[in-house]
Symmetry: D3
Subunit: 132 residues, 6 copies
Amino acid sequence: MTREESYAHGFEVLKSIDGEAGERVVESLQDVNPELAHQVVAWGFGEIYSRPALQPRDRQLVTIGMLTALGGCEPQLEVHVNAALNVGLTAEEIVEAMLHSAGYCGFPRALNATFVAKKVFAERGLLPVQQS
Amino acid sequence: MTREESYAHGFEVLKSIDGEAGERVVESLQDVNPELAHQVVAWGFGEIYSRPALQPRDRQLVTIGMLTALGGCEPQLEVHVNAALNVGLTAEEIVEAMLHSAGYCGFPRALNATFVAKKVFAERGLLPVQQS
Amino acid sequence: MTREESYAHGFEVLKSIDGEAGERVVESLQDVNPELAHQVVAWGFGEIYSRPALQPRDRQLVTIGMLTALGGCEPQLEVHVNAALNVGLTAEEIVEAMLHSAGYCGFPRALNATFVAKKVFAERGLLPVQQS
Amino acid sequence: MTREESYAHGFEVLKSIDGEAGERVVESLQDVNPELAHQVVAWGFGEIYSRPALQPRDRQLVTIGMLTALGGCEPQLEVHVNAALNVGLTAEEIVEAMLHSAGYCGFPRALNATFVAKKVFAERGLLPVQQS
Amino acid sequence: MTREESYAHGFEVLKSIDGEAGERVVESLQDVNPELAHQVVAWGFGEIYSRPALQPRDRQLVTIGMLTALGGCEPQLEVHVNAALNVGLTAEEIVEAMLHSAGYCGFPRALNATFVAKKVFAERGLLPVQQS
Amino acid sequence: MTREESYAHGFEVLKSIDGEAGERVVESLQDVNPELAHQVVAWGFGEIYSRPALQPRDRQLVTIGMLTALGGCEPQLEVHVNAALNVGLTAEEIVEAMLHSAGYCGFPRALNATFVAKKVFAERGLLPVQQS
């Protein structure tokens, strides 16, 4: 694949998972760090996300765990709570993952992540979260 | 104790330490992650905070150290600077703890924590901080 | 439930997920911090892990993401790579999750986690990891 | 040197590297933690920054790496992207350092740092970043 | 004070708090980074630790919180668990602080810190920890 | 470029910077996570390290800053202290960068990094570090 083909392939994967929120991040990088935009798309999504060895919903569970644990990644968590819903995780599973995170990275990280989820759920009409 | 009694017990401890700021956090979780609210209250406060092996002021010193070091926990630090004042630490001791933190987690974390303390102290009429 | 019943319930959940590795951690705490042992078991496993809102394999995906991102949690990651295999994740899914982590927390964390997985897989006769 | 001389010396170093942004941080500490202000200036700049064993531009490369990796240090990163430009790094080198950081601390940290750089570059008329 | 006097003053403070463990760290730096040794002693202990605004035992509570939260600081935590005992904290208070840390930075950090404490307590004949 | 050509190109870059230490890391991944090995080489070195917008010595300054700040990356820091020497940084500059790091991420991280440098310098006959 050429550099342009790698980007085009990655962009399709990005759109299918992250949707418009992901596209906006990539667009906002063009005047400041276009190569970072290229690598997020062509490598992050084109090379890594497109591998079949882990299902899309499973990738989002790992990602939500990482972003919650890292802290200070609220903008990325917002993108990935949306992504998680896009690929089939339920709101209840997402907040349960955040409750689960409390034991591994503490309540402050779990709370910050949960309030990001609350914002996304409000935008998508998913509040209050349904308990199965 | 039943689940309801555990919550009620924890809520009394929460109110005595964190005051209204803690109550607001718990309330804001109800529509998105009510079990996280339950566990913060029933476990975090009812089980852990209520143990006599460490004095309330000592718990806040440890907590301020942790929240400063973790970074990205400004909302929680705001609650706990208030809590620290509620349980008897002075503004001078709190900012000295943050100065002390610079040697262990660097100036950026110490500065971010100090500006949270400044906001709380301003609300409580404690600026400028009195030097003993 | 009494305190003893909570512990007994949590211990059954712990054994079913973490196996002997988890039991050894709990045992090693008895002379230094028995209450921490109690809370890991009664709360972490009895209260949180036993909730049905997230499948055991999904909890391990989130957990592996968190432990990889936190760094410095190699002993806990060893327990949870074992746990992940115990609850049905394949070695290939586990290392794919670690490859996936590189984009979110960088190669050093991904490498450290992968070498923990390599140790566990060697002990369980799972090397070389089978590619589907 | 007396305490006052140490401060005066550090303040000259601070102004020459961080410029007005650094002065504002120091000023905002005076009513809440004046000793922290003193130590940032007299020790951080007077003792450490003024040592000749590492060039000012090299110190900013190390600093940008650290602040990007730590996360949650956006206010400090804003000061130091300005400082980096003040001591001779180009906008292109700064964003390349942030692209480089992706492999070591992941895309979220690299993105957060890049958006801070974008803000600073916009204020200084450096957008779009020129590619050599 | 001259540079030599600052060091001598800091070294007295270091010895009174950290004891031999602190001296060994300083000694081991002499051939690789003697200025770092100087600054730990003259600044960290001579300037910061010697300030009266926070009691020595309170400084160790904050320090244990920070080192537990940071992770990967086991060598420093070993020095400071010793220091905490030297300045009057009990083994029970130290492990209670580590139990308390679980809610703020998660069980893995709390466990790693507790196993460092166990090593120190074993060397000082403090196991099993006495419960008041 | 084909996948094989990307790898071959990246491997040349890896060898020129990291030397044998880098090769050993890649080799040790082959039975557990060969795709991670491929991506470290083909992407990390072939795509990112080979870009001319930042000099090799500057990349190592940023990298040492990041690895010091992250903590728990001692194996990677060992590789990159070697790499830093390979691309022209002096031992004195490396330890000065670590002293500089103390103000941004605290003494514990600075100390852990310095002791890794000490190990590498001992192996390469660079102790005691020469002061210019």
